[in-house]
């Protein structure tokens, strides 16, 4: 008992004050890209050439956040007019529409794009069934940490539940392997309507690093209609938290 008390004293209360107070991530974290449209065409061409995800469109000068793994490779290309991309510490990356993820450096305010009946239905209490559909376990792990004392997801009335029958929607990670397709659809169908679908991580949005493999489906929206997209590889827990709070609250 003494040890429990001693540890409790040492640990104290570590729950983050986010979203009431802003939170800063270390500057190396790669969040929302800042796009420099003044850089030379050569720099952009070089970025297109090295991007492993084919996420950059040179003509439109955009990045598709649904494909980008935030590997940081393009940030290192410099030339006349500076670099095309630099990554900011802004972790607020969620979007309600797939098209919005193709961005020149800004996203529409997520809160304005939520369906009103979702806010009404799920604003006070949201129960999600997580489905790992061939996720590499980074996405899963960084969803799991939302239950640690620091993020403490349940203080917002949001819980990850065991049964799809108890859930209001599914939160899907991974590129959806051929071997997970049926289990994913079964889980989706077991959730009572109205229900929400969240695609988390570039894998579930576009296949991520695995796109093109004949063993993966790679686009959740081609199987079930997606309501909320959370980019990243994996999304930072704060990205997920921000997206859930803004979309549903």
């Amino acid at each position: 008992m003494l040890k429990i008390l001693k540890n409790k004293l040492e640990q104290g209360n570590k729950t983050s004050k986010y979203p009431k107070e802003p939170i800063a991530l270390y500057h190396r974290y790669r969040g929302m890209p800042v796009i420099n449209t003044d850089c030379s065409a050569d720099v952009i061409a070089e970025c297109v050439c090295i991007c492993p995800q084919e996420a950059i469109d040179a003509t439109e000068k955009t990045i598709d956040l649904g494909r980008c793994t935030f590997c940081g490779q393009c940030e290192s290309v410099e030339g006349e007019g500076g670099a095309f991309v630099s990554f900011s510490e802004n972790f607020e990356l969620g979007a309600a529409n797939r098209e919005d993820l193709v961005t020149g450096g800004a996203l529409p305010a997520l809160a304005d794009h939520s369906k009103q009946h979702f806010k009404k239905l799920f604003g006070r209490s949201l129960q999600l069934r997580q489905v790992s559909a061939a996720g590499c376990n980074s996405c899963e792990a960084d969803t799991n940490v939302l239950n640690t004392p620091f993020f403490d997801l349940s203080r917002f009335g949001i819980d990850i539940v065991a049964s799809p029958r108890h859930a209001d929607g599914i939160h899907v990670t991974g590129p959806i392997s051929r071997n997970m397709r049926q289990a994913l659809i079964d889980t989706y169908e077991a959730v009572p309507s109205p229900k929400v679908v969240i695609a988390s991580g570039c894998c579930s949005i576009s296949g991520g690093p695995f796109r093109g493999s004949e063993e993966v489906i790679g686009d959740l929206n081609s199987l079930v209609p997606v309501d909320l997209y959370i980019p990243g590889c994996p999304p930072h827990p704060l990205t997920t938290l921000h997206a859930l709070l803004n979309y549903f609250k």
Binding site: R28, I50, A141, P149, S177, N179, V216
Partner: protein
Amino acid sequence: MDNLLKIENGKAILRADIPQVPYGEFFKTLSAFVKNDGYIVQFFAYEESGVYRLIAVVRNTALYVIGSETGTTFQSLTGSASEKFHMFEREIAEQYGLKPDGHPWLKMVRYHKNYTGEKDVFENNYVEEIPGNYPYFTIEGESIHEVAVGPVHAGIIEPGHFRFQCAGEEVLHLEIQLGYQHRGIEKLLPTLPQKRYPGICESIAGDTTIAHTLCFSQAFEGLAGKSVDKGASIVRTIALELERIANHIGDLGALSGDVAFNPPAAYFGRIRGEFLNLLQVLSGNRFGKGLVRPGGVALVMGEEQRQLIRDKLAEITPEIENVCDLLFSAHTVQARFEHTGMVEHKMAKDLGLVGYSGRACGIAYDARVAFPTECYAELPANTNEVTSGDVNSRATVRREEIMHSLKLITMLLDSIDTTEKPVHMQECALSPNSFVVTINEGWRGEVSHCILTDDKSKVQRYKIKDPSFHNWTGLAMSLRNQEISDFPLCNKSYNLSYCGFDL
């Protein structure tokens, strides 16, 4: 033994130098080798101008390679030499349609069509959903019942299917069927431009990002004759140790939760995050994605990062000690950990368990010591005090490794070497007709990658092995004659990778 060629970790050789022996001799050599305290690192097939070939990489205190030609059937080593081959042979059957004749329990590994168009060994047509023809282990009798769970589990975890054959509460056997996470990585890689390799290798198993990306990068370095400066090696070593600590701490937390001792579960859960944040300090990503690249690291560790890591370690090391003490000194915890999920030393050796799962059974093998890469040759080894093969041993080994890794990082931070320049993924000119194998001690154990290049310097075959490939069978054995309620505890004490296995 004379047939085996001694090779070095990460050093490329010409394919022509791999001894090619008739299958009979291949079989005899490998049988003798494994019976004499030898272990298998890699065993796989590939195709060349219409001919099927096998390559085996094996180890005792050194590393060896041997190759052979085979037809569409070959005599099973699992059946007559050792269980260590069982998964490898099943994989060869699945990937290439080659049948290991006499394999005692031949079935799929991941459920996919073979690469070659040979007749399917398992008589699956793959139009049907997984699992197809899967001969589950069954036990019959009036008091036997079966419990099946998954693929979608109760928590936020990867998918897999488990079937328990029980008599009352007692588990007689646990069948673990995987494959749900199969992404076709080994088949995909040779078809892709090199720039896509790092992203995929970082995501073979996301909790083992650093170890797998190290294996990939070292393999490319070996094939392209690239060297890595000391500063980059230090960063890579620190990253690998941070990955180890983060995962071990997370698992100790999960184990605390499974015995319903919630305070350490919460503390460990939070402390694990601190280590992920340190990886983010180094790499910009909590799992170390975007850091390790062939030739070095993509982000340099400067004084600022060093100091941040140093300060954080000074702050949390005592916390870790205290929370560990809280967990390990609780009698209720001991009562649940000790003698639960036991795997005897001999069984562990027969199966070829690696990593902490092996060390907890008294198999001392640690790739950091046996085949050191990066900075490990200059760093002290770890030893384990509790090795009785139960949950308690696997938990204690983790605790010991956490403390050891903290020490290693502190030592590395004191080194004054820094890398000059960040290195990004660039097209590497790989040497043609070559072969390389790389091994690193990931947090779960031995991670290994093999590459064969063709005469045009292209990757012809990319072979990946996660330690989970060896260890899932260990978990199944742990459950024998246990209460079914011990499953979560046994499972977390191993915490094996589904995607690292499924590939």
